[in-house]
Structure formats: structure tokens, C-alpha cells
Symmetry: C2
Subunit: 301 residues, 2 copies
DNA sequence: TTTTTGATTTGTCCTAGACAAACTGGACGT
DNA sequence: ACGTCCAGTTTGTCTAGGACAAATCAAAAA
């Protein structure tokens, strides 16, 4: 198991840091310092890639690169999140239960996790399952990952298994005439789908017609889809990892390609710190989402 | 609905063409020719973005840019795929049936499509459903999209609904002691998951233990996951849209981070034209996948 | 017909400079 | 003590053009 060397494209893939940023950091901060191959192209050792991943993680928690590069490498991993997490210690009701579920993932016990979640779903019903189990659990997994207690692949595993549970639960809901028509998707570069699924579950429970388009829809396509499906509402999800600077511009562009009668809702932890806008309704919690749906209904009664 | 303008990052997002390529094409071929904003930065009108998407589509079919840019704009859409499709007219048994399913998607009839597929699943059983319905249907959807008969959002809708069906079917399979342990995932920049799900369904039917990690796992994480789950096999999927030049290098790097006892399988239409390698076993059809599993079992009996 | 070889095409990487948006920290006023 | 404004700093993204290797094509040789 010899350590492989990464070229700059591979590092971009694996860390999510753009080539431009990688080169700029090297110029400005003196890290990373890749060796060069015969063509003079950058060759990153695996160790530096790891460190870059750690730095990226800390930056997602609110740290700034200038500070991070000043810290000696071995102290990095001890850093605490700088901006307070949106954790609500208020109703961390059964955090012990949640810890148990997390432990199952951590032990890579797929079957055990699925079974435990199925039980909770049966016990709580879909709405409370989403709000009291899936949402806080996802938050916890994110936190654990940021603190380095979870590996990336463990988070992926959690996401994959939970996606399956939610989809399955949604598919068992009864059919019938439904309204409004809600188109659920996300913009390119935003692959996270769990939030969308939670909203879909809640909306479906409330009798809305959900049109799940998956993630990463080009803007013009979202416009076309809204028209083709005669959607009343287009609901987008932004995760906390999405580059926040891009969101206002995206919403503005999107507003332009959507029919004026179609509402545009943007939700997820990514919009928490976005300034209020007339282009879209910003929805920061699951309760907000349900409230927004009720408000829409009232307005279109 | 005024036409929005795209900056170069937005075009990269929406077309999948890298900034480098966009600038190079402008330099070499004189297209696209974006206007500039006050800062001298490129501003692409929506119309050019559309044309770029068309060009990308044609390139995925095997056309070369040099030729495409020589063709007057209005003849582009009439171009036929250049390299023969991997369509097997041999056993396009019930292509009429498939057309019917496609039509349901095209009409945006979610409920009708789901019902029709459920019926087929019940009638055919999972294995034949995967091989005789889902696989050719996916091929057809891809073809239709390449020929412009399907919008992107319609393909997304198809993918999303079909993913749900497959996952649901997989989750109903009985448990029990299973082997070998197969870890299913894809590399970063490869978001397509349908192929993985088909394989998972077939492998689960054959009694393998499938560990679905979702898509886009960083290479080092795949190594860690393989170790943590003590995977016997790591199965990757590459779609036809994945940049083929990167695949051999990826497989080489991955081989280095995996334990020697772990088999590495790479499948999907993306590996059709990849030269044989000792780093991984290349699997081009679903039948191959089943055969590979049988061979593995024989070798480890 | 098939294979080999040389020319062309094409994508990616390189350097280095510029600038705007976001953030910081202090001064000021309430 | 707290909010607000402003200047200074940090940081990411864009630009330009040059270079080169891998992929592909086309013509010559076997």
C-alpha cells in the first residue's frame, strides 16, 4: 500500500478545493508545497491531501485560512468549531437514543441501524420521525464529522441508508388528488438530498403533490420543468457546505426563468445567513416549511 | 422572464465544461464569444449556454469539437450520433412496452409510471426486471436525451423515480448470512447511481452482502471504508459521461490504497473503451457482473 | 486488409497579475 | 453596553497567453 501521488485535478476532486485556490494558497501561504513531476506539474503526496481535507473542514466551520496556516500542523485537529452550531440544546430530547443510532453507524452495523430506524419510524409515525429523529440525527452526524469523530465514508453510509428509509416511507403514503404541486430539487454543485427528502416527506403528509427531480438541476432546466409540470412552488435546498456567496445570485437568476405565478422557496442550513430577498422565500427550519405550505394554501384558497 | 446572463462559473456548472475549456474554445474556435461586464469578465447569454450544452451532448456521442464548430449553428441539432450506440437490436424484445414507459415519463405522469413499473416488477421478478426493463429503459432514456427528445429534467425525473423503485425492491429482499462483502460506490465527479443500484439488486439477489456508500467517495475514503468494512470487493461505476482519460489513473491510485486481498471491479458504460489493466477488473455488462461474482466465489471456495 | 508512423487536434496545466467582495477591528454615537 | 459606520486586510475568482502530452486522424507501408 504505497502512498500514491495526486495531481492537481485529483486533489480538486478529493478535497473540493478548486485548482485556482490550491495554486493561490501555495503562492500566498506556502502550503501545500507539492513536488513536481517530469513535466513540472504539481504532485501532491497523500499526507498533504489529508491536511488539506482537515483545513477545508475547519474552514467550513468558520475558521479563516490565514489563521489556520499559522497554526503548527499537529495542533490543527484539536480546533473546536468557531461559529456556534445551530444546535438547539432545548429539545435535544432523547439525545441518548440518538447516540445509540450513531453508534450503530460507527460500528458499521447496517442491519442493526436499519432495524432500529424502522422501529422508530413505526413508533413515532412519519412526521415525528422526520422532525425528531432524522433531522437531529443528521445534524449530529454533521457535527461529528466536523469534529473528526466520523469518517467521510461513515457519513456517506448514514446518508445512503437514511435516504432509503425516507424514500420507502414516502412511497407508502396513500395517493389521491393533491395540491399544491411542489417541485423539489437543488442547483448544480449541490448534491445533498437528505434535506429535500425530509421536506418531501412532510409535504406529502400534508397532501401536497411532490415532484422529486433529484439534485443538481441546471437553472434553465428548473425553469422548463416548472413550466412542464405546472408547478405552484419550486423548493430548493442548500446545504451548509454550499458556497453562500453564490446563493443570492442564483436565486435572482432563477426568479427570472420562473413564471411569475410560481413561488420560489429556498431552504436548508445554507440559507441561514443569507440576507432577506424578494426573489425567494427563505425557509430555515422544517417547521417553517410546514408553515409556508399552510400560508400558501390560505393565500390561494 | 428576461434572459439572465451567466458568468464563467455558472456556465461551467450548467454545461460541465471546465473554465479552461471554455476559454480555450473561445481562443481557438471563436465560440463562445461572451460579452464582458464592467470588470472585463465574461458574460455568457443564455442562448450561447444552450448551444454549448448541445455541443457537449454531441461530443459525448463521439463528435469532435473541430468539426462541430465548423458546422453552421442551425444544422447542429440534426446531427446523428457518430459512434454506433451499444444498442443490441437482438433482444430489444418488447421495445414497444419500453416506449410506453418512456411516454409516461414524457407526459410527466408520475403515478402512472410508478404503477406501470411496479406491475412489471411483480410480473418479471427482480432479476429480470433489472435486466430486461430497467437496463434497456435507462439506455433508451440516455439515447433519447442525446437525440434531444428528452429534456434534462425528464431524465432526472426518470432517474429519481427508478432509483426509488430499485431501492424499495432491494430493501424487501430477505436477510441472512451473506458473502462476499461488496462495497458499492463511485469516485468524485461521478454522480450517477442507477448502474450501481442495478448491480446491487443483482448481487443482493445472489446472496452477496452489499454495502452501498452512495456516490462520489474520495479515493482515500474508499480505501478506509474497504478496510473498516473488510470488503472483499470494491465495485465502482463509471457512466459514459465520465472523462475517460482519467479512469486508468484513478484505478491505479485506488489499487494502491486498497488492501491487496480486496478485489477492485470497475463497471458501467464508461469503461467500455478503457484498455485492459491489472489494477482492476473491467465489467461492461450486467451479465458480466454476475459472472464475475460467480468466478470470485469459485476462486474463494 | 491491417499495421505503423507522422501530423494534427485537443484538453489540461503552468505563471503571474488584478480586482471585488467579504471579513476584521477600531472609532464613534446612542 | 450595544449597534453602526468606515478603512484596511484577507481571500477567492477571474484574466491572459504559453507549453506540452495524450488522443485521434490520415497516409504510407507491409
Amino acid at each position: 500500500m504505497k502512498a500514491p501521488n495526486f495531481n492537481i485535478a485529483a486533489v480538486e476532486r478529493d478535497t473540493g478545493l478548486s485548482k485556482d485556490v490550491l495554486r493561490m494558497w501555495e503562492r500566498r501561504y506556502g502550503f501545500p508545497v507539492p513536488s513536481r513531476d517530469n513535466n513540472g506539474e504539481r504532485c501532491y503526496p497523500a499526507e498533504q491531501v489529508e491536511r488539506l481535507r482537515l483545513i477545508k473542514r475547519l474552514m467550513d466551520q468558520g475558521h479563516r485560512p490565514g489563521k489556520l496556516f499559522a497554526i503548527p500542523h499537529d495542533e490543527l485537529s484539536a480546533l473546536a468549531p468557531r461559529r456556534p452550531r445551530a444546535s438547539e440544546p432545548g429539545h435535544s430530547v432523547d439525545s441518548a437514543d440518538l447516540e445509540e443510532l450513531l453508534a450503530l453507524i460507527k460500528q458499521h452495523d447496517l442491519a442493526g441501524y436499519q432495524q432500529a430506524m424502522q422501529q422508530r419510524l413505526a413508533r413515532q409515525g412519519l412526521q415525528r420521525f422526520v422532525q425528531d429523529t432524522v433531522a437531529p440525527l443528521t445534524q449530529q452526524v454533521g457535527d461529528s464529522w466536523e469534529e473528526g469523530r466520523f469518517e467521510v465514508f461513515e457519513e456517506h453510509l448514514y446518508t445512503e441508508l437514511t435516504k432509503r428509509l425516507l424514500r420507502q416511507a414516502i412511497s407508502t403514503l396513500p395517493g389521491g388528488p393533491r395540491s399544491p404541486r411542489v417541485l423539489l430539487t437543488s442547483v448544480p454543485e449541490e448534491p445533498h438530498v437528505l434535506g429535500l427528502l425530509m421536506v418531501e416527506a412532510l409535504f406529502a403528509l400534508e397532501g401536497a403533490e411532490c415532484i422529486p427531480l433529484g439534485t443538481q438541476m441546471p437553472l434553465l432546466e428548473i425553469g422548463r420543468a416548472a413550466q412542464a409540470h405546472q408547478a405552484d412552488i419550486v423548493a430548493l435546498s442548500f446545504s451548509v457546505a454550499f458556497p453562500q456567496r453564490q446563493i443570492p445570485g442564483l436565486l435572482e437568476q432563477l426568479r427570472m426563468v420562473l413564471p411569475a405565478t410560481t413561488a420560489l422557496w429556498a431552504g436548508g442550513s445554507g440559507v441561514l445567513r443569507i440576507p432577506r430577498t424578494t426573489n425567494a422565500e427563505l425557509i430555515t427550519t422544517l417547521d417553517d416549511a410546514i408553515a409556508a405550505l399552510a400560508a400558501w394554501r390560505e393565500q390561494h384558497a
